[in-house]
């Protein structure tokens, strides 16, 4: 087990290194750069731009810039944002809560509803409920989030006036109720798509278990149907869901680009888009490393969890 963990960590480090190298190259080899946004500033001159570039160290050869960045990262220094001069980790940290709140709420409801719908649909395969939810899931998956978000704002904020049109809270209020009211629309929009995803996976996993021999055996030896469903079918169908949950971890913290934009939610997705737009390389690189680490941790955790739950899976 320890050997397994060590080898996984070793692999992860190599992967992280490759991710950072490729990310850095792609960012820096793209023409333009962090200073082009100042070009149209009235009175800006080539001379001033060159001076600022030198002060920021942008005119050094790329390999030197990369090694410098990597050396700092190894020592725990993630760099400083070009936009507001704050340390990268602090910038990322200041957006984490917003994303966790939104994604956590949305995922909680999505898993709860999605899994129930998926199981119920699978147990009554071909029924009206199954057909309806399958079609509904397909529709939900096909609706562009941007459009759906705007429609939700028009209906619930502009037209009915029930809910705020965006933002995480009212400045000057910020009570729990205020947060909750602001959470409803964006988490509903996000959950809709996720419910569809989770119900589809859960349905497929359940169907696979239902056709297994041990289920037939359980039924044959006269176990009550409720027990067959809960213990034998659902219990086994949940195992692949753990892997799915592991894959969802980066999404949970990575934020939702579109939903956060439409609902002016100050989360990680917005941070990523804004940092890209401003060519804030240290933050973009920081986010890249952050999500790469999350992907690796999520996968590792899912593998370990699956192995500890399912005795058929062995890690070595």
């Amino acid at each position: 087990m320890v050997r397994y963990l060590l080898s996984r960590c070793g692999q992860s480090l190599v992967l992280l290194f490759l991710v950072s190298l490729i990310g850095f190259m792609v960012l820096n080899l793209a023409p333009g750069g962090p200073l082009s946004q100042f070009a149209l500033t009235p009175g800006m001159t080539k001379e001033a731009l060159d001076r600022i570039a030198e002060q920021m160290g942008l005119n050094r050869p790329l390999p030197i810039q990369y090694l410098d960045w990597l050396w700092h990262l190894i020592r725990g220094d993630w760099g400083v944002s070009y936009r507001d001069g704050r340390p990268v980790l602090e910038v990322i940290g200041s957006h984490l809560f917003a994303t966790l709140l939104l994604m956590g709420t949305a995922t909680f409801f999505a898993v709860l509803i999605g899994a129930s719908v998926g199981i119920k649909g699978a147990l009554a395969q071909g029924s009206a409920f199954d057909t309806t939810t399958t079609v509904a899931a397909m529709i939900a998956l096909s609706i562009p989030t941007f459009w759906f978000g705007l429609v939700a704002i028009y209906v619930f904020s502009l037209w009915l006036g029930w809910l705020p049109a965006g933002n995480m809270y009212t400045v000057g209020d910020g009570s729990v109720g205020d947060y909750a009211r602001h959470l409803i629309l964006p988490s509903m929009v996000l959950a809709l798509v996720e419910v569809a995803v989770w119900s589809r996976y859960m349905r497929a996993a359940t169907l696979e278990v239902i056709s297994q021999d041990f289920v037939r055996t359980a039924k044959a030896k006269g176990l009550p149907p409720r027990r067959v469903v809960m213990k034998h079918i659902v219990g086994n169908a949940l195992v692949p869901m753990i892997t799915l949950a592991g894959l969802q971890l980066p999404t949970l913290l990575g934020g939702a680009l579109v939903t956060e934009t439409v609902f002016t939610w100050p989360g990680m997705g917005r941070l990523f888009l804004d940092s890209l737009g401003y060519n804030d390389y240290p933050v973009v690189m920081g986010l890249l490393m952050f999500s790469a680490i999350l992907v690796l941790i999520g996968n590792l955790a899912a593998d370990l969890l699956a192995a500890s739950i399912d005795p058929r899976i062995r890690l070595d």
């Binding site: 793209a30 023409p31 333009g32 750069g33 200073l35 082009s36 946004q37 100042f38 070009a39 149209l40 500033t41 009235p42 009175g43 800006m44 001159t45 080539k46 001379e47 001033a48 731009l49 600022i52 002060q55 920021m56 400083v80 944002s81 936009r83 507001d84 001069g85 704050r86 910038v91 200041s94 957006h95 917003a98 705007l150 704002i153 028009y154 904020s157 502009l158 705020p164 049109a165 965006g166 933002n167 995480m168 400045v171 000057g172 934009t261 439409v262 609902f263 002016t264 100050p266 989360g267 917005r270 941070l271 888009l273 804004d274 060519n279």
Partner: protein, 548 residues
């Protein structure tokens, strides 16, 4: 505290006489001072911006939206109001030749400062802070965003806590306007600190009407009233600057009432008709100092023939572009100078849309249509590329319209757009384009000086330090620009700038299309707001904003 008196320049005197018939003067002309009865600040106002302010040290590289915060937290020595008049803030009076603040040769400056002003942390404001600010701007260790003008200051001397003097390397008239955009920062906040990383940069301390409270990154900035403000205002207890990244959402939140005032980048023209009809909202069009043009790279052989540039100008149906694509919001122009400016030349020949004249000009100049219908002369095909920021849908439609119009007179224009970081990088700065559609503000703050854009020595493509990306060269314009920058008295300068506009209109290194106008929106109860072509952002007078 003594009541401040207003010392007008000759030009300001004339304007004041003209305004004498009016019952009220602009709020900014009201003498500032403690003599006025001041009501306690109350209420909260939420401003929506579509970009996020992130740079709070006003002297580090930043973009327009950051100045939205700077104007609330800091004060310059003096500023320029919507009519182009200078008014004092941290200075006791605006230095002029008449009041002895500037010597007749423009070399010696003496600025008297307001007494009794304190920083937000209670430390007194003195001439040392002014000295520190100007020195910071030229400090080679500091990531200064602009040192123009300040680099010509010599012998900076603090005479007393309320008086500072210096001499200029050479007379430089735009310096008054540059100082109007130079926010004074506190010396004590930088003591023992690297100015590039000082804590001040993220928790600014100013003298302005609003104090820094906190920032929720990616969401909003909260400012609170500075009840010790030396001047008129503030009237609001709290000012919230909200970041709303999408323009449709910005407008929607204005409709729902989540934001009280739509700032940069305002209401989009396609929402103008609807916005005008909203109840309890005031929506108005305000001109800005930016002009849109089809700009040429004058190094290209196609564009070296004046007849070609004239013909292309005749081929553009400006009014159709403005009406059909921009909903009639901006107004056509013939020059780079905003029409609100004292230096605007209103006698320039009006543009005439006439494809026939365009064809005649080209025929006359010897550009003959080839087999494919595109004109050729001396082996040069009248074909070129046109670039702008990819994703700017309105501009892309303008390009398609131009392409069609030029096709009709036998000219081929190929559209080749680039993402912003590429477009405005070396491609633009080093004049690697054939032609571009671009919006530019070539002035120096409120000053008409456009040397960095039109001096022939200012082309980066030829090793220059400015932004003359047209690579435009005209010795007469060079002489006039130099003369204009060295003349201190506005009436005398005006002649030079009128002439420059006349020459540029004749030479046509760029085809002026329209002067920018933006659609402001605010709730009906918001008072004190005034559009100002001389400043970059709406909050220039946020100290006077209030709820009715």
């Amino acid at each position: 505290m003594t009541k401040q008196s207003f010392h007008p320049t000759r030009r300001q005197t004339l304007l004041l006489m003209g305004a004498a018939g009016l019952t009220t003067l602009a709020p900014s002309l009201t003498p500032l001072g403690a003599a006025q009865a001041q009501e306690a600040p109350s209420g909260q106002l939420v401003i929506g911006f579509s970009q996020e302010p992130t740079v709070f040290n006003p002297h580090m590289p930043h973009i327009e939206v950051d100045e939205g915060v700077h104007y609330a937290v800091f004060d310059p020595l003096f500023d320029v109001d919507q009519d182009g008049n200078f008014f004092p803030l941290l200075a006791a009076e605006v230095p002029t030749v008449e009041n002895g603040g500037i010597s007749a040769d423009g070399l010696t400056w003496r600025v008297k400062l307001r007494d009794g002003v304190t920083w937000h942390d209670g430390t007194p404001f003195t001439a040392e802070d002014v000295k520190f600010t100007i020195e910071l701007l030229v400090n080679p260790e500091f990531k200064s965003w602009r040192s123009t003008g300040h680099d010509q200051v010599r012998n900076l001397t603090v005479v007393s806590p309320t008086e500072i003097t210096w001499t200029m390397e050479k007379p430089f008239a735009p310096y008054l306007s540059l100082l109007a955009g130079t926010f004074i920062v506190p010396k004590h906040a930088f003591e023992g600190q690297d100015p590039n990383t000082a804590p001040f940069n993220n928790t600014p301390i100013g003298t302005g009407a609003y104090k820094w409270k906190n920032r929720v990154a990616g969401d909003h900035i909260e400012l609170e009233a500075n009840t010790n403000y030396f001047g008129d205002g503030p009237y609001l207890e709290r000012l919230v600057i909200k970041y709303i990244p999408d323009l449709t959402v910005l407008y929607t939140q204005f409709k729902t009432g989540d934001i009280d005032l739509v700032g940069l980048q305002w209401i989009t023209p396609d929402h103008y008709e609807e916005a005008k009809g909203l109840s309890d909202r005031v929506v108005e069009v305000v001109g800005t100092a930016t002009f849109e043009s089809l700009s040429f790279n004058m190094q290209r052989p196609q564009f070296q023939d004046l007849a070609v540039r004239q013909a292309l100008y005749h081929a553009i149906d400006k009014q159709a572009i403005i009406d059909a694509l921009y909903y009639g919001v901006p107004s056509p122009t013939e020059t780079f100078m905003p029409r609100e400016s004292f230096y605007y030349n209103d006698a320039l020949p009006a543009h005439e849309y006439s494809p026939d004249k365009a064809r005649a000009l080209l025929d006359e100049a010897g550009w003959v249509p080839g087999d494919d219908g595109i004109r050729v002369k001396d082996g040069v095909r009248l074909a070129f590329t046109n670039s702008t920021t990819a994703g700017n849908h309105l501009r892309e439609q303008v390009q398609q319209f131009l392409q069609q119009s030029f096709q009709d007179i036998g000219v081929e224009m190929t559209i080749s757009n680039l993402p912003p970081a590429v477009m405005w990088g070396d491609y633009w700065m080093l004049s690697q384009f054939d032609s571009v559609v671009v919006g530019l503000n070539v002035l120096t703050g409120a000053d008409p000086d456009a040397s960095t854009f039109f001096l022939s020595s200012a082309s980066p493509a030829k090793g220059g330090a400015g932004q003359n990306t047209w690579v435009y060269e005209n010795p007469e314009v060079d002489a006039l620009l130099t003369q204009g920058a060295e003349t201190v008295v506005p009436e005398e300068r005006r002649e030079a700038y009128l002439k420059i506009q006349e020459i540029l209109r004749a030479d046509l290194p760029f085809l002026p299309i329209y002067q920018y106008a933006v659609i402001h929106g605010r709730k009906a109860g918001v008072e004190g707001f005034a559009g100002n072509v001389n400043n970059r952002i709406d909050t220039w007078n946020v100290r006077s904003w209030r709820w009715n």
